[in-house]
């Protein structure tokens, strides 16, 4: 499987361990990642608020770059995924926007048709298709069963429903993957809820209250770890966890893993190669 690899800005910066773990596990699962240095930021729904046509144009460019290689675009970030699909939705359903986007970029050689031909894939879909392959490679299924993992999808992977093409949460894709990796998955209220990342810099008290709820829900379900399909969710669930849980038992802090790290652990990849030492809430080497 060969993909145009779109890591996203957060994955290339603050969440470098996500990129690192993705590159570490890819060869083990027969995934070939093609780097395209022309890729630009997806806009993350932020640029849309300044200039919505510009955000669409940036993503048309990204989609066209993948299309020139004849490859599907693979992302490890739920936010990039949602923003890219939002672009394709607007190109298909909103003639006004389509014309505006075309007028800004067509002279530069990008075409809307090419952008619509590219399939956008989130890593969760790829792992889901590789469940049996992962199951075969799991190194120590018995010890892993003891570890309880709470799935956390991330809003952009799920909503708005009409813009997306796959219903990850209703198909329990994250839960199935956790089980395929040999861990025990828990059902809990927060799985499809909000982490508050978007306003972590602008209205942090609200972010902290949302985080407190999410972490309390995960703790109540006796989760040892949380695994998330979005690096932005990971940033605040991990980075702001002790702030959000101030006053609670600090021993009860819950490590928050990126999806490829979870898979990497069961494939027996080295702790540091997965960037697990970079987490703020430490992941204990013995359990990993």
């Amino acid at each position: 499987m060969k993909y145009a690899y779109y890591p996203g800005c957060n994955t290339e910066g603050l969440s470098r361990e996500l990129d690192q773990s993705m590159r570490a596990i890819a060869p083990k699962l027969g995934i070939e990642l093609v780097d395209l240095p022309e890729f630009v930021c997806c806009g993350a729904g932020q640029i849309r608020e300044k200039d919505d046509v510009a955000e669409l144009a940036l993503n048309v460019r990204n989609l066209c770059i993948a299309e020139r290689q004849g490859l599907d675009l693979l992302t490890v970030c739920a936010t990039c995924y949602g923003t890219l699909l939002h672009t394709q939705y607007c190109l298909t359903h909103d003639r006004g926007r389509r014309e505006q986007v075309a007028s800004r970029i067509s002279s530069l050689g990008y075409s809307l048709e090419a952008a619509l031909r590219t399939r956008v894939v989130h890593i969760l879909e790829v792992f889901n298709g590789l469940r049996t392959e992962i199951l075969k490679q799991v190194i120590s299924p018995e010890s892993q069963k003891q570890i309880v993992v709470a799935p956390f999808y991330g809003c952009r992977l799920l909503r708005p429903h009409h813009e997306l093409t796959t219903d990850f949460a209703r198909e329990y894709m994250l839960e199935s993957l956790i089980t395929a990796c040999g861990f025990t998955s828990v059902a809990y209220a927060g799985r499809t809820a909000c982490c508050g990342f978007d306003i972590a810099f602008t209205d942090q008290p609200v972010t902290l209250r949302l985080l407190e709820k999410r972490l309390a829900e995960a703790a109540a379900s006796r989760a040892d770890w949380i695994v998330t399909a979005c690096p932005l969710c990971q940033n605040v669930l991990d980075g702001l966890q002790s702030k959000a849980r101030r006053g609670h038992d600090t021993h009860a802090l819950i490590p928050v893993l990126h999806l490829p790290q979870l898979v990497g652990i069961v494939l027996g990849i080295d702790f540091r190669a997965l960037g697990l030492q970079r987490h703020i809430v430490p992941v204990r080497k013995s359990s990993a």
Binding site: C9, N10, E12, G13, L14, P37, E38, F39, V40, C41, G43, A44, G45, Q46, I47, R48, E49, K50, D51, D52, V53, A54, A57, L58, R61, D94, G96, R104, I105, S107, L108, C155, R159, P160, H161, H162, A193, C194, G196, F197, D198, I199, F201, T202, D203, Q204, V206, T207, R209, L210, K213, G239, L240, S242, K243, Q277, R278, H279, I280
Partner: protein, 303 residues
């Protein structure tokens, strides 16, 4: 007979509990089932309903954990393993069973001033707002059922000063009405009503029984704020800093976006920052660059 079990959250001003009722779901809406229970099994069951046609918005309730209109939802469409849970909307007080205390909701909506302030003179409407061809995202169809407000997680945890999705929908309706001449005041009002606190969860867009694209409404309102020179706060600064970094280099400039957004508040982030630095999570002031990013200037509007 085909049967299913409805788990209904009851409240009688003293205690709150779940009660099960068995009904035949065939061809029935949730509202039909509730009426049947009240007519044939328990006369004390309380719920609100009026038009039975998805117009009045009275019968919004949480059906299997999601806000929906009872009159528009067929039981068989939402049953999970022969069961259904019915609860009152969240984020409001409860009067009895499925009947919520609505007064706070109406107060919030009233603060948005959902009425037209007549224009005093021709030409007083800013050009960019008088553009009626701009998408309305269906705001004129709002029935004020409060489903979006119920399922908005920010509304649930933010203590006051938040108009919520229902308030933003009303605001957009009057902001884009060319007969209204108080656009600037309306936009200013939104800044004190939490417009920059939305986290884009998009739950509102998903639960709206009228299909209003509420997430895009909020985006459109924020755009109008920025274009009219407002948004001089962390929310507005974040969008500006994010955009200018990408415009220049094609990649998010994490360092300067964070500094420009937080301002002096960055000092309160130092403990978290220190913990991250110790783990090697450092945001560097050196900007990464995409190849051929110089062409990106053509992608953006000039102002």
């Amino acid at each position: 007979m085909n049967t299913c079990v409805l788990h209904i959250r009851r409240y009688d001003s003293v205690r709150s509990y779940w009660q099960e009722f068995t009904v035949d779901p065939t061809g029935k809406t949730v509202l039909d089932a509730l009426k049947e229970i009240r007519d044939t099994q328990d006369q004390t069951l309380a719920y609100r309903a009026q038009c039975r046609s998805g117009i009045c918005g009275s019968c919004a309730m949480r059906i299997n954990g999601q806000a929906r209109l009872a009159c528009k939802t067929f039981v068989t469409d939402v049953l999970v393993q022969g069961k259904l849970t019915l609860e009152p909307l969240t984020g409001f007080g409860i009067i009895r069973d499925l009947v919520i205390e609505e007064s706070l909701f109406w107060e919030t909506i009233a603060q948005i001033k959902p009425w037209i302030e007549a224009a005093p003179a021709v030409g007083s409407v800013p050009e960019w707002l008088a553009d009626e061809s701009a998408d309305s995202y269906g705001v004129e169809n709002c029935i004020l059922c409060a489903a979006c407000q119920s399922d908005c997680e920010v509304h649930e945890v933010k203590q006051g000063g938040y108009a919520g999705p229902a308030g933003f929908v009303q605001a957009y309706r009057y902001v884009r009405d060319p007969r209204d001449h108080t656009t600037r005041e309306r936009l200013q009002l939104l800044e004190s009503q939490g417009i920059w606190s939305c986290t884009h969860i998009q739950q509102c867009s998903d639960v709206c029984p009228k299909g209003i694209r509420i997430g895009r409404v909020i985006t459109a309102l924020r755009s109008l704020l920025l274009r009219s020179g407002m948004g001089k706060n962390p929310g507005g600064r974040h969008v500006e800093a994010f955009t200018s970094g990408v415009r220049k280099h094609g990649k998010l400039d994490e360092f300067w976006t964070m500094i420009r957004t937080r301002g002096m508040r960055i000092l309160s982030d130092l403990p978290v920052g220190w913990r991250m630095t110790r783990r090697g999570k450092v945001v560097k002031p050196v900007q990464r660059k995409s190849e051929n990013s110089n062409e990106l200037k053509h992608f953006f509007r000039d102002n």
